[in-house]
């Protein structure tokens, strides 16, 4: 693999920055060059959040250029649809089936309908599964990452991610995060 271009998107408070840290670290563990770009500030007040990660043999810029994403990893369906205009032919979509409406937002059914027209869409009810099985919706990020690793839509190995979780996540939350990752990996 020459390089892998990933866009993470969601809403402030969904845990994008922690997810980014884990993926960054996993890429480093796997021996890749890695750079990522994130934005703080207003987004924490319920605005949209977009972060970019690039890893591979040689990475110059931390930002994924228009049309160059290999994977758009979305924690919310409207944000996935918003980001879809930036997709190229190769772009795959991993989308949390979770809807967080806002003023004048399109209705859920319409968003899902449009998402289903995309090539290579994985629509996964990760929030719901994590709520049911782990009583914690926030770790849906790790569930989705586990799913992505199992389906090989992200070129990282399970071991690298597990090592990264141990490195990045505070000790008292590690078990929960690993459980969520394993659940996603087992695709249950």
């Amino acid at each position: 693999m020459e390089e892998f271009n990933l866009i993470l998107t969601g809403v402030g408070g969904q845990g994008i920055i922690t997810l980014l840290q884990i993926i960054d670290q996993a890429a480093l563990v796997a021996g890749f060059e890695v750079r990522s770009s994130e934005l703080h500030g207003l987004s924490q007040r319920g605005g949209g959040v977009e972060a970019h990660i690039r890893f591979g043999k040689k990475i110059n810029s931390p930002m994924v250029s228009f049309g160059q994403a290999d994977l758009i990893f979305a924690l919310e369906i409207t944000e996935a649809l918003r980001e879809s205009v930036k997709a190229g032919k190769q772009t795959k979509f991993l989308v949390n089936d979770y809807y967080l409406p806002f003023t004048n937002s399109p209705i859920k059914e319409e968003v899902i309908e449009k998402l289903k027209l995309l090539n290579s869409l994985y629509l996964v009810p990760a929030s719901q599964i994590c709520k049911d099985k782990l009583q914690n919706e926030l770790v849906c990020t790790l569930y989705l990452l586990g799913f992505a690793v199992f389906k090989e839509i992200i070129p990282l190995k399970k071991e690298s991610v597990l090592e990264a979780i141990k490195n990045v996540v505070p000790e008292k939350y590690q078990d929960l995060n690993i459980k969520a990752f394993e659940l996603g990996y087992a695709n249950k």
Binding site: L20, L42, P62
Partner: protein, 538 residues
Amino acid sequence: MAKKILLGNEAIVRGALASGVAFVSGYPGCPSAEIGDEFGKIASKYGIYAEWSTNEKTALEAAIGASFSGLKSLVNMKSFGINVCSDSLLPLAYTGTKAPMVIFVGDDPSCHSSAQSEQDSRGYAHIAKIPVLDPADPQECYDFTKLSFEISEKFNVPVILRVTTRATHQKMPVEFEESEKHNIQGKFERNVHQFVTMPPRVMEMKKELLEKLEKISQFTEKSKINKVVGKSGQVGVVATGVSYLHTMEALKMLGLDLPVLKLGFFYPLPEKMIASFIKDKKKILVVEELDPYLENEIKRLAKEQNIKTEIFGKDILTRIGELDAIKVFAALAKMIGKKVALPKIKVSDIPRRTARLCEGCPYWYVLPVLKRIAPEGTIFGGDIGCNMIGVLPPHNMYDYLFDMGASIGISHGISKSTNQKVISIMGDGTFFHSGIAGLINASYNKSKPLMVVLDNRITAMTGHQTNPGMGKTLMGENTQELQIEDIARACGVKNIKVLDPINVKELETTVKDFLAKDELSLIVCKRICALLERRQKK
């Protein structure tokens, strides 16, 4: 050497630690706040003093005091902070530093987390005449911080480390030295010759600064942070900061290996190096974000030295918004006359998910009441901080929004110019930052606006930093809790009410009552930030 994935701002902290920084002051903003926040956590461990100052001017002045007392200092602020502290920055350039000082300024091209203006703070280099370095990524954030302290030490001059959001909030593995705890006690020694800027001495000081700049220019010419990469050729690129990364990406997309002069120094420029780079080229493209400072300097240089190279820049690259690889790709292709297929940039038609007040935010109790109770035609002035959200739906409230503390200053002017009612809204952090000055002006000049301070007991928007109303310092020490109403009373405000906005009736009555008065009035709506309250309960 350790190696870890670091955010640009974390790398700055590491660089300052490795340089032996002993005094850190600043004012929080995006994209700089993580620096002060991090020092708040680690300062005691390393034997460092760190503070959130009341504003960027007091922050810089604190560091000047530290520098004159022999302590290495780091000042941190966002772009607009340099405007606030510039009054002290310019004389500091004249006096120079005693112990080294680095001033971190975080610019935010594209205004991801900024209102007010898309500021290119590099311009201050020309006004203050002090070195400015422009790192591209976290490794350079670390290296350039160390170098900035070295330059400051060598030339007794403050150094500005100007970093943009895409570097401050970029992550990559960074190699850095682990630092140890040190205990340094400063000592101020009288040196009127250096520290007093009265004429006629001040004119000598200007001459000394210009002479210093000459020496720094020679240093710049040899500095390794200005470098040429790529093959030799007749077409080249000069790039600085994050634009360099976009340039390398764009060249890869074009499948080209052109010579690139990467400048780490923005000021003073290595003029000889630039001249020798451009003189044998037919064409060069200057890649920089925002204003064409670099391009104009290079054009001047070419003219002076009779260099005929064709210089491209803002004629084919935007001055508005940040650059990216595709913008540079398009400009390069245009310059070399290569036909390329440019991706058709599409923008989603889904409405923006704008920021909103958090669930349980005390401002929810205030903004709708003000809007409902104030008579038709009342003018609302907003300020910087969480209250900015009052501009957005569902509030759609403000009639103007400027910079820190400006809501009261401008409301005074409107009040004096019209017979309209004006309500000036401001947060507690901003009140302490610069709102007080506007309040005094309004009071002194017998103005009549109603000022509403939304006191949520913390500087919330930038990520929950301490302020003088809280009784806590950055390093977690207890301190006196300054009362906004006491300050206002001392400023001569006669009508003052402090209330908990959850008591809607009381708020309504007070607004009506104060608006009916023909005098300056103040309501302090005191209720803790909902996020902070939840965090405290955990």
